[in-house]
Amino acid sequence: MKYWIGAAVALAVAAGMALSGATNEYFFYAAFVVLQFVVLATAWNILGGYAGYVNFGTAAFFAIGAYTAVVLFKWLGAPLAVQIAGGAAVSAALGFGVGLLTLRLRGIFFAIATVAVIFIMETLMVNWRYVGGATGLQLLRPDVTPPFESYTRMLFVVMAFLAIAAVSVARYVQRSWIGRGLRAIRDSEEAAECSGVPTLKLKLFACTVSGALMGAAGAPMPMYLSFIEPASSFNLTYSVSALAMPMIGGTAHWIGPVIGAFLLGSIQQIVTVTISNEINVLVVGVLLVLFVVLAPDGVLGLFRKLWPRRS
């Protein structure tokens, strides 16, 4: 109950900020990206954190969500909500398909297979004229829906809603019997199977849900940029950040990726404005190394070490 009140308050605050004309427009532009990373990191954690299957393919699921939105927009003139639902559905299907092919692999082999998914999907999009091929496609935003006064503000609220939806899904999975099964898989897949856990089914479920959320995060991207292009959509940085944020925040609890995304995402935005865009990746790398070495259980682990009673 406390969680739902918190979620409602967070969404109300986001909507309130967007609707009050006072705040700086750039804030929403940057906050959209941070919230997008909350969705991506949370989605990644469902398979990577709970079940221990490291997915390097986040960029593929994200970009396929974005491209689905473009196709729906160009073909049918579909509204944003339909674009997001479509992006989630196609990326869920991709997650299921990739899962079927790769989830029998373990450890590093699974991770490598997911990297391949990025290259396969990117090659497909580069060679598909309808969505602009390698040069990309300029998109004309439709008129903004009232009461919002700019499209960026609206997208910010939409992404806030998606972030809360993603976190709620992750929280449900973690606390249900599914979460216990996924943790059993991470600890010992063989023992899990012999304790009655249908490991392949659960992993497929996690991969599908994770893919769907990543697709939903990517779907508003074309409207946000008014543009789509393969190289930036399939950028490996999405994969690295989606993995680094839960690692930094803590993978065991749904709040971990949220903390990591807010922390790392905000730092990235600040660094982009104050120093340069290139330093971004360096920041992610340095923080990831620091945390892996000094605090392998992330910010959450640090908290538990400092205040063991509250865990």
Binding site: W177, R180, G181, R183, A184, R186, D187, S188, E190, A191, A192, E193, C194, S195, G196, V197, P198, T199, L200, A252
Partner: protein, 239 residues
């Protein structure tokens, strides 16, 4: 013998060119206490892996309660009533001891959280781990880990319990303690296959013993006849 609970027929398993099991056949009656012995590398654990579903046999059939199970994944076999412990303990180390038992309670017996907790505590009391219920599994000692292996298998409420060297490294009194638990489970109607290197324990426990050597059954019979058998002595002592 009544219709066997478990019927393994001509099961073979190869790893590359190495025959880990060749044409192994056993039949185990409901309620039986069955011992499986053999020197290191003789195929005991491979046979158990084939029965529990961690490995698939290359040839032959495995029937449980009259049903062919050799193509079923391990989790389906556990749900049909075959539970096992692992020789090298594989606890769910990120969970507490109690939670370890909740996994089979939920996934095999399909209990609700509260019932599952009650059942898990009952099992822990029985095996003597109740005071560790809320300890993290990665903080247990070797002995406690072995007990946890057995407890987790028990929480699945099996009809057939396979105990893979549950007593290795235990002291004499602890071996007696585990034996007592296994005898009690058997008295409740659970069929038990015991793999053990501690001869005294297998011989005391089992009604019938099979000795494997190099993937073949070299001898089958009562504990007394096994100890006296020349082939068994050769397999263990070399000659």
């Amino acid at each position: 013998m009544a219709a066997p609970l478990l019927k393994v027929q001509s099961v073979s398993k190869h790893f590359g060119g190495f025959a880990a099991l060749s044409e192994v056949s056993i039949a185990i009656a409901p309620g039986e206490r069955f011992g499986l012995i053999g020197p290191n590398g003789s195929g005991k654990t491979t046979l158990i892996n084939c029965i529990s579903g961690s490995l698939r046999n290359d040839a032959g059939s495995i029937e449980f309660q009259g049903e062919e199970i050799s193509s079923l994944p391990a989790y389906r076999r556990t749900r049909k009533g075959i539970a096992r412990s692992f020789q090298i303990p594989r606890p769910f180390h990120s969970m507490t001891v109690l939670e370890n038992l909740l996994v089979p309670s939920q996934y095999v017996v399909h209990l609700k959280e509260a019932e599952a907790q009650a059942q898990a505590m009952e099992v822990l009391r029985r095996i003597g781990l109740a005071d560790k219920a809320h300890a993290q599994a990665n903080q247990l000692s070797q002995v406690e880990l072995r007990k946890l292996e057995l407890a987790r298998a028990m929480a699945a409420r099996p009809r057939l319990l396979i105990s893979d060297e549950a007593m290795a490294g235990l002291s004499g009194s602890e071996v007696d303690e585990v034996l007592k638990i296994l005898f009690a489970l058997n008295a409740d109607g659970i069929t038990i296959i015991m793999i053990e290197h501690i001869m005294q324990a297998v011989m005391r426990f089992s009604q019938r013993v099979i000795c494997l050597d190099a993937g073949r059954i070299i001898c089958e019979g009562t504990p007394e006849s096994i100890v006296a058998n020349a082939d068994v002595q050769r397999a263990y002592l070399g000659a």
